[in-house]
Every structure is written in C-alpha cells, then in structure tokens.
C-alpha cells in the first residue's frame, strides 16, 4: 500500500524536481568553483573583440563594485595600465628609456564612454591623477582636468579617477558601464603584440583596491592605486570575470578562465565565452601557432600552449608544474581552481615570458637548452608559485613587493632543490652544479653593495637596479635562514596558518609577522626571544648584513703558580712548572656585520671531543676559553650552515691544521687550464 502512495507523491513532485535539476545544472554549468572563495568585491562582465589588424581590443565592460568599507566612497579609481605605453611622458618610460619607435609600437587605453548602468553619464568626473608623485616631482592634484606639466616632467595617464555624483554607501554596490578601446603596444614589456602573436594583459580599465582599517595591517581608508612603474607589478581584488571574446576563428586562445561556450560566428570569427572566479588578474593570449598539450594533476586540468619548436620540452614544463602543484599543496595549502594554463611565448614574444596571472602564467625557455640547465623548470615553478603568493594571498605588489616576489622565490628555491636535488637545482652539469638556494644566496651576497636598500619599500624605490637582488634573492635567503633556524616543520606551519587565515584576502607585512610570531612561540616558546620582530626589523626593514668570523684558535700549556710568595723573611720562591698535559685554548670570535643573529659554535678538540657553544652575538667580540688536556683543533661558527645570510662563510671557521689539499687540487686544475689554453691558442699560430 505504501508503494503506490509514494509513487503518486513522487509523480506529483516531478515537475518541481525537474525545475530544480535544471536550475542546479544550469548554475553548475556557469560556476567553476563549488563556492565563492573571496568576497568578490568586484566583478567584470565584458563583451570585447580582438582586431588583429588594428591590434586593438575594444568593447564594453560592466563593472560591479561593492563598497566593503564603512566609508561613503565618492569616487572610483582605475588602473589604465596600457597608457604607460602611450608616450614618453608616462611614469614607466620616465623610469627608463622609451623602447618604441613607430606609431604602431605604442599602446593606450581609451575610455569612449562611462556611465552607471542606469544611464547616468560619469564622463564629466573623469581625470588622470598621479598618486605617487607627491614626494617626488609635484604635489598630488585631484583636478578634473589632465594636469598640464612643464616640459620634461611626467604626465602619466595610468590612474583614472572618476568622481561620482552620489557616493557609494557602505555595503552598497555600484555598476558602471565603460566602453573602451585598448590599442596593444609592440610586445616589449609583458603585454602587446608581435606580428600575429598576441599576449593581452593589463588591458582593460581595472578598478583599484579600496582599503579600509581592519582590512589588513596598516590599511587606511582610501583607494590604493599606483601609477604603472617600470619595476612594479599589480594589486587587485579577487574578482569574477565573465568575458565574451570575439576573435578570428583560426586563432588558438589561452586564458586565465575556463571556456563556457564557443560559437562560430560564420564570418571568419568566433565568440568564446570565458569565466574566471576569484582571480586577481585576467590575461589571455591568441596565436595561430600554438600547439596545445593537455594533462591532469588531481583536480587540476593542465592546458599548455607551446611553440612547435619547444614541444619536445613539454614534459619538462608540465612535470615541473605538477611538482609545484604537489609541493605547494602539501606545504602551504590547496590550489582551488580546477584549471591552470601554461603559456610558452614565441621568441619574438619573450617579453611576455616569466609572468603570472594566477590561473595562467607564462614560462620561458630556449631551443636546445640542455637538461642540466633548468631554466624552463625554474620559470614554470616560479610563475606558477605566484598563484599562491599574490594570487590567493593577494598582497600589494606595488607597496610590499617582498611579499610576492620574495616569498615566492623562497618557495621556488625549496621546490627546485627538493625536486632536482640539493645543490643541483638550477645548474646540473658534469663539472658544475648550483642549487637554487645557493643561487639565491650567491646573488645576494655577491651584490656590489648588499646594504644598498632594505626590502621594505615600494618596488620603484630601489636604487641602482637593486630591486631584483634585494626583493627576490635577499628575501628568499633570509626566509631560508629563518626556516633553518625555526625548523622546516615550523616554517610549514607558519605558511599553512598564513594561508588559512589570509587566503583570498589582502595580507600586509605585519599580518605575516603576526603569524610567524604566533606559530614560532607556540612551537619554540621564547627560544628566539619574546617574538621574532627583531628578525624582520633586521632583514626586512633594515639593510644590515651578517658576518661572523673566527679570528683565531690558539693554545698554550697551563703553568702552575710561580714567583715569590709571602712577606719579609718568609718569602718563598716557586719555580714555574707546567701542569701535566693541561692546555689553555682560546677561540676568538668577532661579529663583523651589524646584524645580530644568535649562532652555534662547534669546538673540536684534538682528541676528537666536540662541544657546541651558543653565542647571542650581541657583543662585537667574544672569547671562548678552555682548560683541557687536549688543545682545540678547530672552531666553526654556525656549523650546520643555518645562517645563509652570512655574507662570508669562509671566515666562519679556523683550523690549526692547515689543509692545502683544496689549493693543490685547484692549483693543478688551473695549471691544466693554462696548458690547454696554450694548446688552443697555438691553433692560430
């Protein structure tokens, strides 16, 4: 009896189920992730077309922005990155030479119209501002006109301000429709075209990040919108992108989104509907010459677009990507997207190489590169790593570049040396090999002036081209040093906590330091002091260098008391006599660098005994004195080589037993080299 009753109930419910199924399946078809990972403060809906002859991308953009702050926001600020390529007055060109010549080489982004979705024209409120000029060339002007500059000064148009008639209230949303034309520049720096190759990045009017107290450490109310500098990258909200892109149907498309639909328009064109969720930047590329390779790592579908001549290196790239996915998944957190796209740009488009757009990144290789030179692997691992360090953990690349490039280089060194072998990570040739951690340290300590700048400053304020070495290699080296000090397990715990707490948000420097302090205290108590602020003050916020030195190791016999003792008639003379087999050994240590880091010292005695001493390093010098039956043979500061920041490891030890073997070996190598050179030159005799 029950059965018919249930059946009839189910029949009655059927239309409802069908509707539900349709709703669920149709939304599933449109949604990549199970749930939104970020607040999606911004979303972009675009309908654009690539004109391969005019080298333009033009169309409409509907921006939705929800005010996340408690402020009423009376303007909007946009990055107009392509205007950096407009003329020699842009900030970017002023910070270096202009690399374009022909009219077609320059690029720009024009706003044709701008209004709210309900039709209110906003064009009267549009101006270009230069927020970074206040301390440099001129006062910040918020005029509604493009400021007129005297000759020779900057007239940058990469930040557009739109004053609104009515402010956006806290929690309220605004929708703005912008019709724009982006003329792509000749591909000389990250974005543009090279003949029929297109790499399209920083290509549309992109809303800046509105910061407010409590959002991240150090945040104040207001737009954080910087000009496009020569050595700066980006900062953006995690956003939803829904893009309808029309392009010639013989072009192969790669993008940071997923293809939702593709329609052949019949006139030699196709329209591709793309969708990306919770990414900070949307880039895409189109070329007729790509060869597509697909692969899978767990939940991630890998799509790689190669140049035909690099196809034989596909495995090297894809394996590196899988290794990075696995390593970061295990040690930091889960890569949430089900897609990752690797782009191998052509030779003429190498300026697009080695760049990251979260779910899409560009690699970099060369034909004929031996397997022992791991450039393709390194670039792949590094650029993919940015999916975490500034993709998921969306730090401000303008203001705090150490948090993306530095942290990411640290993980790059870990992955490279883990996968390809410690001390063999980057170069692995028969007579020479270098690990990635070694390479990072080598670059930092090998700088002409390692004290040239602290790493805690905006990316365009590094003097004399020191940005790369300080931000990438120095940061990676002090993070590797920190890892060796607090242990790899604790370091992993730091990053896992950082990831859990700050994924899909915008952490600042202090937010990371807070996590370090919390986790390190939990694991090690006060072993490293009350907290690790001192460590960041020394290596991040200051330019101090570390250099410890063993000045000398010396030993002498210990003698019994000798001389004249007593008074007047009762004077007693005792002759000097040595104690049986007792030596006084002195190990003299000095701190040559300004940075103070606690170190271990390993003391080795002639009888084989070893002891470990601890030195807080606070004084400039320290003597270790031993009275033992055996003399000190050698002393070594930081025997486990934890302090990679030490700029000279050669002076970290002194041994009393001279070892000439290395000199002998390299002397004979040198002589052999000379002899071969003599033979080689005689070819031209």
């Amino acid at each position: 009896m029950k059965k018919p009753s249930n059946l009839s109930k189910a029949r009655a419910m059927l239309p409802f189920f069908l509707i539900l199924l349709f709703v669920v399946s149709s939304t599933n078809a449109q949604v990549i992730l199970e749930k939104a990972l970020s607040d999606r403060t911004t979303s972009y809906k675009m309908d654009v077309e690539l004109d391969t002859d005019a080298k333009t991308v033009s169309g409409d953009l509907i921006l939705t922005w929800t005010n996340p702050s408690l402020d009423t926001v009376s303007d909007l600020q946009f990055h107009m990155y392509l205007n950096a390529f407009k003329n020699s007055k842009s900030t970017m060109f002023n910070e270096g030479s202009v690399f374009h010549r022909d009219e077609d080489d320059f690029g720009f982004v024009d706003v044709n119209s701008i209004h709210t979705l309900d039709g209110k024209d906003l064009s009267a409120g549009v101006s270009f501002i230069m927020p970074d000029q206040k301390n440099h060339f001129q006062e910040l002007r918020l005029s509604e006109e493009v400021p007129t500059m005297p000759d020779g000064s900057i007239q940058d148009e990469t930040v557009m301000r739109v004053v609104l008639d009515e402010g956006v209230l806290p929690g309220e949303s605004i929708q703005v429709k912008i019709s724009f034309t982006s003329k792509l520049p000749d591909l000389k720096k990250r974005t543009g075209f090279s003949q029929n190759y297109f790499f399209v990045a920083q290509w549309f009017p992109k809303l800046a990040v509105y910061e407010y107290p409590g959002m991240k450490s150090g945040a104040e109310s207001g737009w954080n919108c910087h000009q496009f500098h020569r050595s700066s990258e980006f900062y953006a909200n995690h956003s939803l992108y829904e893009i309808d892109l029309t392009l010639p149907d013989d072009y192969i498309l790669g993008s940071g989104g997923m293809v939702m639909a593709e329609e052949n328009l019949g006139n030699g064109k196709k329209k591709v509907s793309l969708r990306a969720e919770d990414i900070v930047d949307f880039a895409w590329t189109a070329s007729k010459d790509y060869v597509v390779v697909e692969d899978q790592w767990k939940h991630v579908k890998i799509r790689a677009l190669f140049q035909a001549e690099h196809l034989y290196q596909a495995e090297r790239h894809i394996n590196a990507l899988k290794e990075a996915l696995a390593y970061l998944d295990e040690h930091v957190g889960r890569y949430p997207w089900p897609h990752a796209t690797l782009i191998d740009p052509p030779t003429s488009g190498q300026a697009a190489g080695g760049m990251e757009y979260t779910t899409l990144f560009t690699a970099g290789t060369a034909y004929g590169l031996p397997k022992g030179l791991r450039m393709p692997e390194l670039v792949t691992i590094h650029e993919f790593g940015h999916a975490y360090f500034m993709g998921i953990l969306a730090t401000n690349e303008f203001d705090e570049p150490w948090m993306d490039e530095g942290m990411n280089t640290y993980w790059e060194t870990r992955i490279m040396d883990h996968v390809y072998g410690d001390k063999h990570g980057v170069i692995d040739l028969p007579f020479i090999h270098i690990g990635d951690k070694e390479f990072a340290r080598f670059t930092y300590v090998g700088m002409n002036n390692p004290k040239i700048a602290d790493a805690y400053r905006p990316s365009w304020e590094f003097p004399h081209g020191s940005y790369g070495s300080v931000i990438y290699q120095k940061t990676a080296t002090w993070l590797n040093t920190l890892e060796r000090m607090i242990s790899t397990e604790t370091m992993d715990e730091v990053f896992k906590t950082y990831f859990k707490r700050w994924a899909f948000k915008h952490p600042g420097t202090q937010d990371f330091i807070d996590v370090v302090n919390e986790v390190v205290t939990e694991h090690h108590g006060d072993r490293f002091g009350e907290n690790l602020d001192w460590y960041f003050d020394t290596f991040l916020k200051d330019d101090k260098t570390v250099d410890y030195k063993v000045i000398s190791v010396s030993s002498r016999r210990v003698y019994q008391d000798a001389g004249i003792f007593g008074k007047a008639d009762s004077k007693l003379f005792i002759e000097q006599e040595s104690e049986e087999d007792l030596y006084r050994s002195t190990v003299a240590l000095e701190r040559l660098g300004e940075a103070i880091v606690p170190v271990d010292i390993l003391i080795h005695f002639e009888d084989g005994t070893e002891i470990i001493e601890y030195w807080n390093g606070k004084d400039r010098a320290k003597d270790l004195i031993y009275e033992r039956s055996s003399r000190v043979e050698w002393a070594c500061i930081d025997p486990e080589m934890k302090i990679l920041m030490d700029t000279n490891l050669l002076n970290n030890s002194v041994t009393t037993k001279a070892n000439k073997k290395p000199a002998l070996k390299y002397g004979s190598k040198f002589m052999f080299l000379i002899q071969n050179l003599m033979q080689l030159i005689s070819i031209f005799s």
Binding site: Q195, L650, Y666, I674
Partner: protein
Amino acid sequence: MKALKSYIYSFSLSWNSKKISSIIYLAYFCIALLLTIPFYKLFVSISEHSLLPANLLQDFDATAFGDLIRDSGKAFQVYFKGFLPWVIVFWLMGTLFYGGIIAWISNPNGTLRFRLFLDKCTQYFWRFVRLAFYMLVIQAIVALLIYVLPVIMIGKEGVTDQYIVRTISIGILIHLVFLITIRLIADFARFGLYQKNHHKVLKEIWISAKYVFRHLGSLWMIYMMWVIMPMVLVVIFYILRTTMTIDTTVLIVGLFVLQQIFIWLKISLRIQKQGMYYKYYILCQVED
C-alpha cells in the same frame, strides 16, 4: 695511397719524436708553472685555515667556491686582468716552435740536437709570425662572413630561437671546415717557406692555397683519420674525470700526472700531424 702511407708513417715518426715532444712540453710546462705558483700561493693563503674549502674536494661546491673567490676577489681579478699579454705570448710560442718542428720532421733520422732545434726555431720565427698574422686576418674575415647573417637575423621579428640555434650550429660547422682548411694552408705554406728558405710569405700562402685545394680530398681524409686519436683521448679523459672523486693528496697528485700525460700526448699528436702532412708533401714532390 700517398695519404695512407703518410698516415701510417706518422705513427713511427710520433714515437721517434718523444724527445722533441718533451722539449716543447717542458717549455709549456715551465710557463704554466710560472703562472700557477702565485695562483696556488694565493689559494693556499685564503683557504688553508678555513674548513669551508674542504667541501671542494669531494665534489664541486658552488657556495664554497663562490665565497672563496669573493673573499679574495680583488687578488684573483688582478690575476685575470693581466691575462691578455699572456695570450699573445702563447700565440708567439706556438709560432716559435714550428721552425724546430719542421727541421726535425724533415730529417727525423738524424739526431736531435737541441742547439739546432733552437736555431731553426729562431731562424724562421719572424716569417712564421707574419704568416700566422695573415692567417689570423683571413680567419677573422671568414668568421665575420659566416656569422654576420645569423646575427642580423636574430633581431628580426618572427625568427624563432630554433632557427637561431640551428643557423649558428650550421655556422659553427662551416666555420670548423674553413678553420681546418685554412690551417692546412698555413701548414703547407710553412713547409714551402722552410724548403725554399725565402721570405715571400704572401706568395707562399697563395701557392699553398692552390696546393691544398688540389689535394683537398686526400688532405681531409688524412686529417679525419688523424683526428680520431685526439678525440678518443678527450673522451677517455672526460670519462676518467667524471667518474673519479679527487679528495686525497695521492689522488690529487695522480690527477696531476694524468693531466700532464694528456698535455704531453696533445703535443705529441701535434707533431704527428705535422709529420704526416710533411710526408704527404714530400711524396707528392717525389711524384712530380
């Protein structure tokens, strides 16, 4: 047939030329040693009391090597900056020995007198320097012609790195062929200058060029036969070096001896080649 005869003959010549090989080897050895001693002393002074350089014994160690060089970077820099004059010295030395070598290979059954060797070296020195200079100019022009095209192409849009690598590889191959041919011309020009004992270097280059192109097939054949030995030598040395760990004094000395044998053999092979060409030169003259 002449080619084969010359090739076979060159082995016995090479064996009989042990003394002359040793004299030349010693001359090179002394100069190399002269340059190595200060290098060694510098290396000892910066490395002997630190534990870090020991890492360089088992295997190469980029950190140890880097810190060592940086610690005494200035001293090493001075060393390498003054190297160009030495390159010229080596070039002149190579030229100097040709007079003695040709005197010996043209009369290998005589007894090698050191005095005569030196006399012949100096007697032909300036002629051979001029010859070497002209050949250097020709080499430079040839290299320029071979590489100028790929270099221009590198900047062009649409040129792939595969194209660049392949073009340069083919360029190197072509250059190698020219290099060997030009060296053949130089070798036979020297024989002509020696035999005729005159100073008309340019004229002799022209005669030699005609000669080499007339006999190109045979000369290339004997060159290719000869080159097998040096290549085998290099491969053996490479295998030995990549499989051995040099970390004890005995092994370091062993390696040194091995290196010196390698250099000696290289010099010996050079004399063998000269002897082989000279034999061919004589056989052709007998036939004419």
